[in-house]
Symmetry: C2
Subunit: 240 residues, 2 copies
């Protein structure tokens, strides 16, 4: 929780300390990435606001895979192992990281978990980050892809207000679309326009963990991460 660190504030945390921290993190992330690649594991860093539907997405994903692929997850929260318990119940092998006070996962936390057996024979490793649209964006964990869950109930302007998170995203999952009938003022074009203005290669898939809508497309996107010779949709076009 930025426990007395003045996070991001270069007025009070020395720049050289900032740089050392990120450099150390990047080194460990590179080590994690090499380890995962060596074992044929696709790491996916799943980020988003608290309540954006990250855990529900993993539950729906497990259901969609139906045992075809071996899924593992690391779930990050300040306290409780609730998310790990939920995804385990869905059939995903999961380890919890309770950060206590830290507002994001870092590569060293993930490295520690990887020393256990969690991802060793997995095809995919989901790293469900702490719910936070700010801090996790700049900490590389060793993943192959950054995926951001953005729920329709969060409104249309979050990409403009929290641009770093979306700038670093390979894919945005527009979640909870089953609630759209209850949100008559929601402007889908506005959120897509906002994403297009900050994402270098805008990719959006609209999903509902509840109804299952869009989940097949998301699974398809994941599968193409393993076979990158297949084009990931048509160029820079939105895939909503």
């Amino acid at each position: 929780m930025c426990d007395a660190c003045g996070c991001g504030d270069v007025r009070i945390v020395p720049v050289e300390l900032h740089e050392r921290i990120l450099a150390d993190n990047d080194r460990t992330a590179a080590h994690n990435r090499a380890h995962l690649r060596e074992h044929g594991v696709i790491g996916i860093n799943l980020m988003g606001s608290p309540g954006a539907g990250k855990t529900a997405l993993l539950e729906a994903t497990a259901k969609a895979f139906g045992g075809r692929d071996r899924l593992a997850a690391i779930t990050g929260d300040l306290e409780t192992e609730r998310d790990a318990e939920r995804v385990r119940a869905a059939g995903i092998r999961a380890a919890a990281i309770t950060t206590g006070s830290a507002c994001h996962l870092d590569a060293e936390m993930v490295h520690h978990v990887l020393h256990g057996d969690i991802a060793h024979d997995a095809d995919y490793l989901f790293i469900e980050n702490v719910g936070n649209l700010v801090c996790p964006a700049i900490y590389d964990l060793g993943q192959e892809a950054n995926v951001v869950a953005l729920s329709v109930t969060e409104g249309e302007d979050k990409p403009l207000k929290y641009p770093t998170m979306f700038r670093n995203a390979d894919l945005v999952l527009l979640t909870k679309i089953d609630l759209l009938p209850a949100l008559p003022d929601y402007d889908r074009e506005a959120v897509e326009s906002a994403l297009a203005s900050v994402m270098p290669r805008p990719r959006v898939i609209a999903v509902s963990a509840r109804s299952g809508e869009g989940i097949a497309e998301w699974v398809n996107w994941m599968e193409r991460l393993r076979s990158p010779q297949q084009p990931q949709t048509n160029g820079v076009a939105m895939t909503t």
Copy 2:
């Protein structure tokens, strides 16, 4: 955005630096508080996840006050002045703080704005923090009360997973209750039980900025901040 600071991670940011940062912040917050009290301004630190409905709440609050009291706001975002523009349009005098990379407001940022004319003849000053359920919780800004907006679409377990934010809250506004009909599985008792387990004095008001439900009770709560001799509801009971 925890820009290379390793926020909260005492493994890498020295403890003495952590302590100095918070101590400096507390000193400036005390100064802000004295300044606001001297001018008869009630400061309210409004926190919550991105998309929890903080800005919409301020819009509805301005409408409910209907010009009776003088309202001012400081809105914090990484980028854009959209929130300030929205609350200005609702009749609240507002100044924006764009933090660039910082994931929370701190007392010095607020102090800087207070040197302008924003709160000088206001009755209430809302400080709409950066959307984040983690980092803003421990930075005192000089407010009289911490209010956390928690939307019903975020689920029931956030108080357990982000306890520091709720532990430090004087009031939780359960927002977007107009969406409850679209959330048949939402368990209101579960969220109240979770809040009761972390808040020292659990107080919850359920509101909808869209329908106006609960807004009068929230305004009443605010007014009692100015007349503390009147009891704030009945003891530790929930006020949902």
